[in-house]
């Protein structure tokens, strides 16, 4: 979280992340070039560079697209999410090298402008076998370019989160274009089946992960809360919520996170203002609800970020009746202070026993 925009807010974790990624990319490219020189010495350096950057970018794209669903399925993958945009920008740089060298190799040796040649040398859009696959790759590159140049939080705020997110959802279209670029391009002339296997395994893995994660989220959203009274909905037992943690409930339109901290219950919107991270999966640190994705913080009693930060989330009324937690799903305007529900001593005693029981069980 930063009060002003920096190019990159470096910290130790980011540096480790980026160094590991850099080391992987360099090692991969070096190994590819060396192995090609040994096993396929007839390939020119340009061809080797085009192929090495294309395969590396494809691997990185699969990693990037798998991080989201993996974090939904298992929180242990969260560290990969923190700096996912760094992998994205790196992937774009590698794809750019691939694109530039491909255009130089295949379209710049004639007397036609390379970009004109790219689109006019093959116009068989009605044929699958002869489809101008290079234009598919070009459009995917444009999408990656737009995503890379708007990857910074500055653009998130200035484009508005809705526009920014819509733009970045185009990564899925870019993935489809890349798959078809490979299948209608190099696969048509490459006898080695390893390329088909890589694409097929990669696509199958991504589709499976996304469908599993999506199905889980839909199940959570569809849980019905049948006990309702005076506008309140009974959501859970107070002892089910751990100290300084939350439980999330999807009531009516959106998820609400109910936090237990400092002897009280507070209910706020589950959606972080930064990039819609799940606040309910975070914890209370130094009195602030902390988003697990990028560390944005909010005060539990009013949903406001601590000064000098200005983010705010909606708050809700919550009450405790015996041990039952009731939430009013009607949101207050963002940043509205609400008193929360005091957890009395009897509830705390029961909570202590319940927590001990959970610890024994774990």
């Amino acid at each position: 979280m930063g009060a002003s925009y920096l190019a990159v807010g470096w910290n130790r974790q980011k540096k480790i992340y980026d160094w590991l990624m850099f080391a992987f990319c360099v090692s991969y490219l070096a190994a590819f070039i060396v192995l090609t020189a040994i096993f396929n010495p007839e390939y020119t350096f340009e061809t080797t560079l085009i192929r090495s950057t294309s395969t590396l970018a494809l691997i990185l794209l699969h990693v990037i697209l798998s991080i989201g669903p993996l974090t939904r399925i298992n929180n242990k993958f969260l560290p990969l999410l923190y700096n996912r945009r760094h992998i994205g920008v790196t992937m774009f740089c590698i794809v750019l090298v691939h694109g530039v060298f491909s255009i130089l190799q295949f379209h710049s040796l004639g007397n036609v402008n390379p970009f004109v040649s790219l689109f006019t040398s093959n116009t068989h859009y009605d044929s699958l076998a002869d489809f101008p696959f290079q234009s598919l790759g070009f459009f995917a590159l444009i999408i990656f370019f737009l995503m890379a140049i708007t990857s910074h939080d500055f653009w998130l705020h200035n484009l508005s989160p809705k526009v920014w997110k819509t733009l970045h959802m185009f990564v899925y279209l870019a993935y489809f274009l890349v798959v078809m670029h490979v299948m209608l391009g190099v696969i048509q002339y490459e006898t080695n089946p390893v390329f088909i296997i890589i694409i097929a395994v990669g696509a199958t893995t991504l589709i499976t992960l996304h469908l599993i994660a999506g199905a889980r989220e839909v199940r959570k959203d569809n849980i019905e809360y049948k006990l309702k009274q005076n506008g309140y909905v009974r959501v859970c037992d107070v002892n089910n919520i751990l100290e300084d943690r939350a439980k999330m409930f999807c009531i009516e339109n959106e998820r609400i996170a109910v936090f237990k901290t400092a002897g009280k219950l507070f209910a706020i919107s589950n959606v972080c203002k930064h990039q819609n991270g799940p606040l309910g999966e975070g914890r209370v640190l130094d009195g602030c609800i902390t988003c697990p994705w990028h560390g944005y913080q909010y005060l539990p009693h009013n949903g406001q970020s601590p000064p000098p930060f200005k983010e705010k989330v909606a708050t809700y009324d919550v009450k405790l009746v015996d041990n039952d937690v009731w939430v009013n799903p009607l949101p207050y305007p963002e940043g509205t202070e609400r008193p929360g529900a005091v957890i009395n001593i009897q509830n705390r005693k029961l909570e202590t026993e319940s927590v001990k029981g959970e610890e024994r069980a774990s």
Partner: protein, 145 residues
């Protein structure tokens, strides 16, 4: 993630679960028939000892080589200058036309290097080859022996 975005993600990936396999399978089904050998012959392939026919052009030399009893034939392609077409394919057309639809794919070459491809013997001893740019979908040159 907000609820509408969760829904949108699931819709997109449900669509990709159908479209991507269709795209992959379709692309595999329309692959041209390729020779069993690798298209790009390794440079270590030994040239057969006897040159039966030879043709010299400005950018390349083409030889038809054989072994001592001419039971095996080989097409040798030597790039003398860097080709302006970085990747090209060689087809053999027994009908002596430049129509690659009727031709047999011999192999693929790049802008530089020397290549050797196995060649089947023609009964009339005439050979017609087409150098074809598959990226731009046009015939670069034709060679007749």
């Amino acid at each position: 993630m907000i609820k509408p975005l969760r829904k949108r993600h699931l819709q997109i990936w449900t669509a990709w679960a159908v479209l991507i396999p269709i795209g992959i399978i379709s692309a595999i089904l329309v692959r041209p028939e390729l020779p069993q050998d690798k298209l790009l012959q390794p440079a270590a392939t030994v040239a057969l000892p006897i040159i039966l026919k030879s043709l010299n052009k400005e950018s390349y030399t083409i030889n038809i080589r054989s072994n001592s009893d001419t039971s095996q034939l080989q097409l040798e392609w030597i790039n003398k200058k860097t080709l302006t077409y970085p990747t090209a394919t060689i087809y053999q057309n027994t009908a002596n036309t430049n129509n690659i639809a009727d031709a047999v794919l011999i192999g693929r070459i790049e802008a530089r290097g020397t290549y050797h491809f196995e060649l089947k013997k023609n009964s009339d001893n005439n050979y017609h080859f087409i150098l074809y740019d598959f990226i731009h979908q046009k015939t670069i040159d034709s060679i007749t022996f």
